[in-house]
Structures are given as C-alpha cells and as structure tokens.
C-alpha cells in the first residue's frame, strides 16, 4: 500500500477530492495518487508513468472512461493495469459493455467508502 501508485480519472474536482480522502484513509500515500480530468490526459500519464491501479469515471468530456479502458486493454504495455470503473451508469447493457471492455470492478455512484475499499483490495489481489 505504501508504494501502490494510483491514477484517479474524474472530471469533477469534488469527486476527485472524495476519492483522494478515501484513498488516504485506506492507507495509500499522498505522493502516489495522481489525477486526470479526462481519458486523454489519463492515457498520456499512463504512457509516461507506471500505475498499479486506475480508478475512472465513465462520463467525461474528451475521451470517456469506456474509450479509455479500451485503449488501456489494447495497449501492449498497459493492458494489465487493474481498472475500476466508477459511474452512475446502472443499465444492464452498459454494465456489460464495461466488463466486455475489460473493466475489473464496477462501482455505482453514490458509493459507500467501504465498498470502494473492498473493490480496491479485490483488484490489487
């Protein structure tokens, strides 16, 4: 947990803050948590740095969370990064679309902090 490097992708700065506080509470370290406000920026960061986990929103201007995970899963160096999709999308067909794109865990907003923790621990194995 000390060295786990996490990329949080959300266009809402309020949401970024909520997730940041939760991650700190779970024991992750401040300098190891990075932010992007859309998929395009997140993708660029993923090319340049090494992340152990990505937590991303679905609906964002520019590259969406779905397009972002598709890029990650198709990339020869990034395909293994655990990915949690965090969204208000509760329609069955959309949930399935996310999983078929390679999402490891799916969490519906609004979420309980403990649920997020459980899903993070699950994907980090």
């Amino acid at each position: 947990m000390q060295i786990t490097k996490i990329l949080v992708v959300d266009d809402s700065s309020a949401m970024q803050e909520v997730i940041f506080d939760a991650l700190i509470e779970f024991g992750f370290k401040r300098p190891r948590i990075k932010f992007a406000n859309n998929g395009q920026k997140a993708l660029r960061m993923a090319y340049e740095q090494f992340f152990d986990l990505i937590i991303s929103d679905w609906h964002m201007p520019g590259l969406t969370g779905l397009e972002f995970i598709q890029e990650i899963r198709g990339h020869p160096d990034l395909f293994e990064i655990p990915f949690i999709m965090m969204t208000v999308e509760d329609q069955e067909k959309n949930i399935l679309k996310a999983f078929s794109s390679g999402v490891d865990q799916y969490i519906l907003k609004p979420f309980k902090i403990e649920d997020l923790k459980e899903k993070i621990l699950k994907v980090l194995g």
Partner: protein, 163 residues
C-alpha cells in the same frame, strides 16, 4: 413472482460478467505471451564496476523475462561506449561511481552522440543528495534508482522505460 424474475436477472447478469471476465483473461494471456516474446528480444547494457552488482542485476533482469544472451556487461563508461559502437541496445542501466569513466560522464557522452542519444538510460546509485539527483536528470538520465533497490521497483522502471 416479480421478485423471482428480478433475482433471475441478477444471476444472469453475474453469469454474463463472469464470462466476459474469462474472455478478457484469455486476451490478457495472449498479450502477456507477446510481451514475453518482446522482452526476450530486448537488448540491455548493464554498466557497473562491481561484479556482484552485475550479477544481481543480471539475475533480476532474467527474472523479469529478459534473455541473458541479450544482456551486455561493462565495468565502466568507456568500455560501455566501446560495446555500443558495434552493438545496438534498447536500454542502458548504469552505476554512477566507476573508475575510468563515471556514469555521469557516460550519460553525457551518450546524449551527445547522434547514434546513441535516444537510448533510455537508468542511473542506479547510492547518491541521494538532491543536487546530485538533479545533476543526473539535467544530464539526460530518464530514471533514477537508489541502491539498495527493490526488484519490483526496478521491474516497473525498466518496463516503463521500454514503453
């Protein structure tokens, strides 16, 4: 009746998610194989005057999936430059303090040579003073690693440099 049908839907959904995850797992497996293939062909030059350190690095790199016949060894910057003059490498991992040409002089030479300037360079040293770390960065070092190092940390840095 209604609750029955909604329960069934959740079970169906879980089943579908399970299958999708299995398909993704297969896909990841094939990408992993491709990467293994790629790593086996990647050439790395290790520059360190300590034979023990060379051995530790060689063991670590082989554990990551690189092939020993594709790993070159040199014990100072000058010898490394000689090797680089007739072999191409995808990555250089170098110590800082070595007799003859130091790692810092070596990276400066690399960055000033047209045929070599693009090679990713990882400096591995016990120099942890900020001014020295900055000096390395300004000389063109891509990644900096403090000794003693953690294997997992080294693996991440190496893979990131090969992206």
């Amino acid at each position: 009746m209604e609750s029955d049908s909604s329960e069934k839907t959740i079970i169906d959904l879980n089943e579908e998610i399970f299958q999708l995850k299995a398909e993704n797992k297969k896909l990841k497996e094939s990408l992993r194989k491709e990467r293994e293939q790629r790593l086996r062909l990647t050439k790395i030059l290790v520059v360190d005057d300590s034979e023990l350190m060379q051995e530790i690095l060689l063991d670590a790199l082989m554990e990551f999936g690189f092939q020993w016949s594709n790993i070159g060894l040199a014990d100072n910057g000058q010898k490394a430059l000689d090797i680089l003059s007739d072999q191409a490498f995808n990555l250089i991992i170098s110590d800082w303090h070595m007799p003859g040409m130091t790692g810092l002089e070596f990276i400066k030479k690399i960055r000033a040579t047209p045929e070599l300037f693009k090679i990713p360079f990882l400096m591995m040293t016990s120099e942890d003073q900020k001014e020295n770390v900055l000096k390395a960065a300004s000389s063109g070092v891509d990644q900096y690693m403090l000794k003693p190092f953690d294997n997992e940390d080294l693996r991440k840095k190496v893979l990131a440099l090969l992206k």
